[in-house]
């Protein structure tokens, strides 16, 4: 008989963030520690142009291609300038307002807050990015 369960569940900190996201009217993306997309809520589906029930989880290389991130002058932002990427690198919260452009060419000014998920054990288990429409809009 196996000594431990072979089934791997997500840490409850990830699960609870999903449950919260599922109740919110603002777009929320939840990733693992390297940026693979574990969950996005219904409002976030509008940004991605995809439905979570269709895509399930996505590798970072896959979901990061669904929109472009640009500054006010239309210049592409480096990944290291994006809040979520910085959170993944540094395990700290970040905030930035910038422009995103969907694959269909639709541009939108967006503010992003990101934070690391660090559980009771003090272990970094993932990150959350919340997209806001800027208050000056």
């Amino acid at each position: 008989m196996s000594q431990n369960s072979k089934h791997i569940a997500y840490p409850i900190e990830i699960i609870l963030n999903r449950q919260l996201a599922d109740c919110l009217a603002i777009p929320v993306f939840i990733t693992d520690t390297v940026g693979n997309l574990l969950f996005y809520n219904e409002p976030a589906e509008e940004i991605l142009g995809k439905r979570y029930q269709d895509t399930g989880e996505m590798k970072v290389e896959e979901w990061s291609m669904f929109f472009l991130s640009k500054d006010e002058k239309g210049k592409l932002l480096e990944p290291e300038d994006l809040p979520l990427v910085k959170t993944l690198l540094n395990q700290l919260p970040y905030f930035k307002t910038f422009w995103i452009e969907s694959l269909k060419g639709k541009s939108e000014k967006i503010s992003v807050s990101s934070y690391p998920i660090i559980g009771r054990a003090g272990i970094f288990v993932g990150a959350v990015a919340i997209f806001w429409r800027p208050s000056d809009e």
Binding site: Q3, N4, S5, K6, H7, A9, I12, L16, G119, G122
Partner: protein, 285 residues
């Protein structure tokens, strides 16, 4: 693995004629294998533990799921803690804010207690665990945080004779969509997966739960569904609500049997019985 249920009541000890069958003591489970003992939680049921007829091992391990009062209130009456010849190990959930010893010290100090932690004269060791794996004698133990207010873990105990999972306080259905059937997104599923026996929180009826969402407990229906999703082989429902009489628990059980058709046996846990079969009433099938 011999399992004895010394306390299966939730929240507060409840002794009156209407709780005589299922019992009124709060959570405490004894697990024995090869003369070694684990004590899961230290509710009021711990006072029923009998140390005279077992224990080849010189140590006793008390594994706490969390520090809500119904799970630790028996510690003050746990005789080995006051015996200098005994080696007692207390295991409990880690949290960043305060050590387990500090948090237990709140209970072992006035006005809640007439004595302090330092007055415990056994050889005492305190271990902080989270999403952990560790061995105690013949037991291999996996712990994991589960959804319940405050730091709370469940335990998966494995010996050569089987796998026993203990999650007495748990609200896996918390959230808009209720219980998630994708086990990767289901709190506690890693502990329960394919266990031979699951002893799980089932404090509420569906009616109770309408006004008690977020209180940290499970409906009987969700406990059954949780066991089904995690493919356990047998389920005992515990942490009975203190307001539920024997007659009400019997009626709940009859309703569950009537409206469900799970492939595994399930029963209501009964204090003083064993978990290896006949640990509940009435017999499930």
């Amino acid at each position: 693995m011999k399992i004895t249920l010394w306390g299966v009541r939730g929240s507060i000890p409840t002794f009156n004629p209407s709780t005589r069958v299922y019992g009124g003591n709060t959570s405490c489970i004894e697990v024995e294998e090869d003369g070694c003992m684990l004590v899961l939680d230290a509710g009021s049921g711990i006072t029923n533990l009998n140390f005279s007829n077992n224990l080849d091992c010189p140590r006793i391990d008390v594994l706490l799921t969390h520090l809500h009062i119904d799970h630790i209130q028996g510690l003050s009456f746990f005789k080995p803690l006051f015996d200098p010849t005994k080696e007692v190990h207390i295991w409990g959930p880690h949290t960043h804010a305060h050590s387990l010893r500090t948090r237990l010290g709140r209970y072992f100090s006035p006005p809640l207690s007439p004595f302090y932690f330092r007055d415990l004269i056994c050889h005492l060791e305190v271990h902080e665990i989270g999403n952990s794996s560790f061995n105690i004698g013949p037991f291999t133990i996996q712990s994991a945080y589960v959804i319940h207010p405050g730091p709370t873990v469940g335990y998966r105990v494995t010996t050569r004779s089987g796998v026993f999972t203990y999650i007495p306080d748990h609200e896996p259905a918390l959230g808009r969509g209720g219980l998630n059937h994708d086990i990767r997104w289901l709190s506690g599923s890693e502990l329960a997966y394919e266990a031979d026996l699951l002893l799980h929180d089932a404090q509420y009826t569906e009616e109770d739960y309408i006004v008690k969402k977020g209180w940290g407990h499970t409906t009987m229906e969700d406990a059954l569904e949780f066991a089904s999703v995690t493919k356990v082989k047998r389920l005992l429902l515990m942490h009975h609500d203190p307001t539920h009489s024997d007659a009400q628990l019997d009626a709940c059980y009859a309703q569950l049997k009537e409206k469900t058709a799970y492939p595994f046996p399930f029963e209501m846990a009964v204090e003083g019985t064993g978990g290896g079969g006949g640990g509940g009433r009435p017999s499930g099938g």
